[in-house]
Amino acid sequence: MASRSLRPADYVIYAVLLFGVLIMLLPFVWMVSTSLKTGEATFVTPPQLIPASPTTANFERAFGAVPMGKFLVNSIFVSVTSTVLMVLNCAMAGYAFARIKFPGRDILFYAYLATLMIPQQVTLVPLFVLMTWLDWGNTYQALILPSSFGAFGTFLLRQFYLRLPREVEEAAFMDGAGYVRIFFTIGLQLARPALATLAVFAFLASWNSFLWPLIITSNQAMMTLPVGLSFLNGRYTTDWSVLMAGAVIGTVPIIAVYVFAQKFIIQGLATTGLK
């Protein structure tokens, strides 16, 4: 990019952008600041942005009040597992839809696409009934499996394989390999960019998912972070320093992931139009 000297108008743009950044970051600063305050310091006017006597007691209280460590482990386990399963299931199905001709293929694919029209809330009641019948309430499989399949990812991967030239695979076919072996040895490798986009989308969706985990978990030991924080919110309604400590614990892991994968996450979400 050719560097050019800044015009007066550019300073105005910078000023507006900086003001906006302040608005975007202030809530996070306020969250961290409150989480480090003593109970009394929370209710001081004018509010202190930097706590006079910072303390980590709120984090200890949050971990003592609810199994915060367990929430964290559950969230990580559920998000990672469902992301891996989602990517694998969608890649396999997408590959099959793109490469294998079989009767009824198009109708089946349209049935997949039709599910994209239906909001998630429509399936809540039957899904809950199903899980009750299976006796899967408060289990990992109930948290993981419903977000391990999806029409969107299948569609994404099908389109990817349709655009992919078949030459590499043809050579393997000549050597006598079948679809399954070709998919696992060549197909998965070639689809890495599309798989990464899907993984980002699936991970964020699962990590931030709230309504389904809220419905299916009542046992604290099985709650994910968002549900656990909501539980904390119900119990410590006005104890802001503890609630903000909880919010910090809920925010730091995803921001850490974001810092490392920032460019990638933004691109993935911009191209798929999902958040």
Binding site: M24, A93, V122, G178, L229, W240, V257, K275
Partner: protein, 294 residues
């Protein structure tokens, strides 16, 4: 490649497609069908199912809480949609200037998008606290006495709207940035030569060229407006006096607090019908626009 014989092909299908097919059937297709069937029933999970025809739909249309939820949603849309589109677009236009550091700005504006709704709602509930919150303190510096926000039936929804706009503008800006990148640069240069002002250039070139992006942003924002749940659940629980109750909250309450599975299913299908109607209207409108443009 189509030379693979019948049997090998079906073995491959069983391995590659069957897991997905089983999952999609069990967790999407079957529940969708069941939900539709259930919407014509009265069922509390304990006693046998009673079939009551369109009774749930009739009841829902007359239900004051459903009517209130719909009014609340319209209020939400009226505040949220123009704000998120205007600010998101404005931000995208600023970020589209090739200034040093713009990727850092873009990254910061996007942070709330990846943060969970529950954490964001907790923080904003605290920011909006009437007595000790940062927002009313800021207003008091300007000589304004801040409202009761989430405790005041008139101000609770504006508080929820403010929070949602703050969380979503980074997302809208990134979508608009992608749209701006597709506008050929020479269009703007030609207008420059003609002596057009930045303002004229925006309304005659940029805004019309962004029409597909605006359609997309409007559609997904409208759809998500009908699906608001997380922030309301944490910030207000739907109150005060129902001022922030939403459709999804009614589904949740009827199903999991009152055990009215059939009624909750019916409300979810009304939600589907509303979302479907919006998508359809947007599509028709876009087609007409495309035709009139060319």
């Amino acid at each position: 490649m189509d030379g693979v014989t019948g049997r090998g092909k079906y073995v491959a299908l069983a391995v590659l497609l069957l897991p997905s097919l089983a999952g999609m059937s069990l967790f999407y297709i079957l529940p969708v069908i069941s939900s539709f069937v259930l919407s014509f029933s009265k069922w509390d999970l304990l006693t046998p199912v009673q079939w009551i025809g369109i009774g749930n739909y009739v009841a829902a249309v007359q239900d004051p809480t459903v009517q209130q939820a719909l009014r609340n949603t319209l209020f939400f849309i009226a505040g949220y949609l123009p704000a998120v589109v205007a600010i998101g677009l404005g931000l995208a236009l600023l970020l589209n200037h090739k200034l040093p550091g713009r990727t850092i700005f873009r990254a910061i504006y996007f942070v709330p998008v990846v943060t969970s709704w529950v954490a964001v709602s907790l923080v904003w509930k605290w920011l909006l606290n009437p007595q000790y919150g940062l927002i009313n303190f800021g207003l008091s510096l300007l000589g304004i006495k801040g409202p009761g926000w989430l405790f005041d039936p008139n101000w609770a929804m504006p508080g929820v709207i403010l929070t949602t706009v703050w969380k979503d503008i980074g997302f809208v800006a990134v979508i608009y940035l992608a749209g701006l990148q597709e506008i050929p640069e020479n269009l703007g240069e030609a207008a420059d030569i003609d002596g057009a002002s930045a303002w004229q250039r925006f309304w005659t070139i940029t805004w019309p060229m962004l029409a597909p992006t605006t359609f997309f942003v409007t559609t997904i924002s409208l759809i998500s407006s009908f699906q608001v749940f997380d922030q309301v659940f944490i910030m207000t629980g739907g109150g005060p006096v129902g001022a922030t109750t939403t459709m999804v909250q009614l589904i949740y309450k009827n199903a999991f607090s009152y055990s009215q599975m059939g009624y909750a299913s019916a409300i979810s299908w009304i939600l589907f019908a509303l979302i479907f109607a919006i998508t359809l209207a947007q599509n028709l409108l876009q087609k007409r626009l495309d035709r009139s443009n060319g």
